[in-house]
Subunit: 377 residues, 2 copies
Amino acid sequence: MAFKFQLLKKDPKSMARLGIIQTDHSTIETPVFMPVGTQATVKTLTKEELEAAGAHIILANTYHLWNQPGHKLIERAGGLHKFMNWDRSILTDSGGFQVFSLADFRNIKEEGVYFKHHKSGAPLFLSPEIAIEIQNSLGSDIMMSFDECPPYPSSREYMEKSVERTIRWAKRGQNAHRNADRQALFGIVQGGEYQDIREYCTKELVAMDFPGYSIGGLSVGEPKEIQNKVLSYTTPLIPENKPRYLMGVGSPGAILDGVERGIDMFDCVLPTRIARHGTAITSTGRLLLKNKEFEKDLSPVDHKCTCYTCTYYTRSYIRHLIKAGEILGMRLLSIHNIHFLLQLMADIRQAIKEKRFLEFKEAFYASYGLNESESDF
Amino acid sequence: MAFKFQLLKKDPKSMARLGIIQTDHSTIETPVFMPVGTQATVKTLTKEELEAAGAHIILANTYHLWNQPGHKLIERAGGLHKFMNWDRSILTDSGGFQVFSLADFRNIKEEGVYFKHHKSGAPLFLSPEIAIEIQNSLGSDIMMSFDECPPYPSSREYMEKSVERTIRWAKRGQNAHRNADRQALFGIVQGGEYQDIREYCTKELVAMDFPGYSIGGLSVGEPKEIQNKVLSYTTPLIPENKPRYLMGVGSPGAILDGVERGIDMFDCVLPTRIARHGTAITSTGRLLLKNKEFEKDLSPVDHKCTCYTCTYYTRSYIRHLIKAGEILGMRLLSIHNIHFLLQLMADIRQAIKEKRFLEFKEAFYASYGLNESESDF
């Protein structure tokens, strides 16, 4: 198997860790943030712009690509890397999250989930085997098991039943996987905010010896404290030689909290989504560039940033573009926001290397501010 | 004055010409196509992408920039070049065309035009002096006189009155111009399809000795034959040491027809507008990439093209992006279409240089097809 994770260093004062993931397509230093390319494109950006920002791995969504243009078409085009012109690593989710977050109607059975397409309403069916088959066709470097992602809050009774099924589905997916030599399939730990269920789920999945583990069912509306508590007791249950991926989390604050609790991988649509609505993430907090105060502001988005946008363009110009509905405005802010988060990860790695992660976190908040709401993405 | 036009060569078998325009910001080989950056951005593209496509001059719209973000703001930012991060040449129109094409209501008086904003309905007033003042603030390398662009068809009686006013307005604009040392103000020839009025207007404007002349009032719905006829008798009236600019024309066929009739400069929103709707201009005609036939087509948009899009991406992938509403699809086709037209201009210049322009035109049509409709842009 080409996939390899190496733990390089552990922070003495927290659970933060430094590592390296090796895939057939790239070497990825962890902790890592993965920009999201839902429909085989990180919205508005080219490969070169992602590389310039320092991206070594991106995420694509199985559910969307299965529906449009179809995984078989992508397989015939030579796989997802070739189809979208991205030769570094790709992680795909299982489609499970979209089934539970997008579909209006769903019927969960032991064999899989019957549901309707989120736009057309067409009847669809996804199972552990189909989710794996799609990801095998896409040829992603890291794949996800098909799981149920229960809403927050869910009853203990429901969560117990759901997690049992998620464990059975993980096993079925592992059996269906036909490219284990070149695609690493991760297990997904569910269990909501119930510590004993999380522990049970982790133990069962660890017994199946997946090359990596995702922590799912977080960032679904629960308070930040619960997310952090779940992480604190879950990551220690995962063997330390396996990477840990916190799904769907990507605000600077949540990344720092996750790293502190032993998370190695993050992804989120946040940086590109808020960019398209005119918001920049900066070292001094978020800037809503549509605001009147930036109309005549000839400074860069972030004085401390070295990205293309901050090198050549002013807040005043970007505000004009966003107000005028111009795509270049969305592009420039997407470039900046992705660069900002990837630079944050590089800074975090440097801090862990120098045994000063918690100090770095303090200093980051002192500049960024602590008032970041987790609910606005 | 920094602006200079040098006529290098005349085609022996047609009115086609080869020349060079020099401004404070760049050297421009003519015949030239100028991509349109209405709101201080050529839609979806960066400076680097425009440069890679071979753009040495772009156009920006006075009307739009006057309204948003305002010419005074741009002047305070150091002028339009600096504001938008474009250090090659910029041509601005006068705002006149938008007053007549966008505004629902207008009241043309000798002093200028009273009209309403095309979106907000706010009352606005433009005069020759104001149009020049705005362009002086923007700091474009080439400016346009404020003119009336009558619709097609207009009566002879109306056209005579309108052209008289346009001539008086041209004079007033010339008098109001405060940066003649670094911004070249062009006169605009109007007169519709009336040969004697075109002749009269040209003669009057030539007497004012503008550094260049635009031919306006074409591409406003008249048949192609009329456009070509007007060009055939108008360009010979313009001194050959002055550049001639055919406003708003940019389909390959119309460009070839214009070059044949002595036009040096073209602009049009066509390449970027149809790109955003999924249409590519290629050496074998237009491709509507949304069409089902391209679903599995793994060839580039145009085999003969060397642009970024054609180097790295397939028709199948671009079709997927366009269907999925992804901005990258619009970007890739905008890059291609601009590159295609600028390469066409380079090929035209090479053909004129080698005294084979008419043969080149024949060969282009043999591949491109003659069925191009002028009405769809």
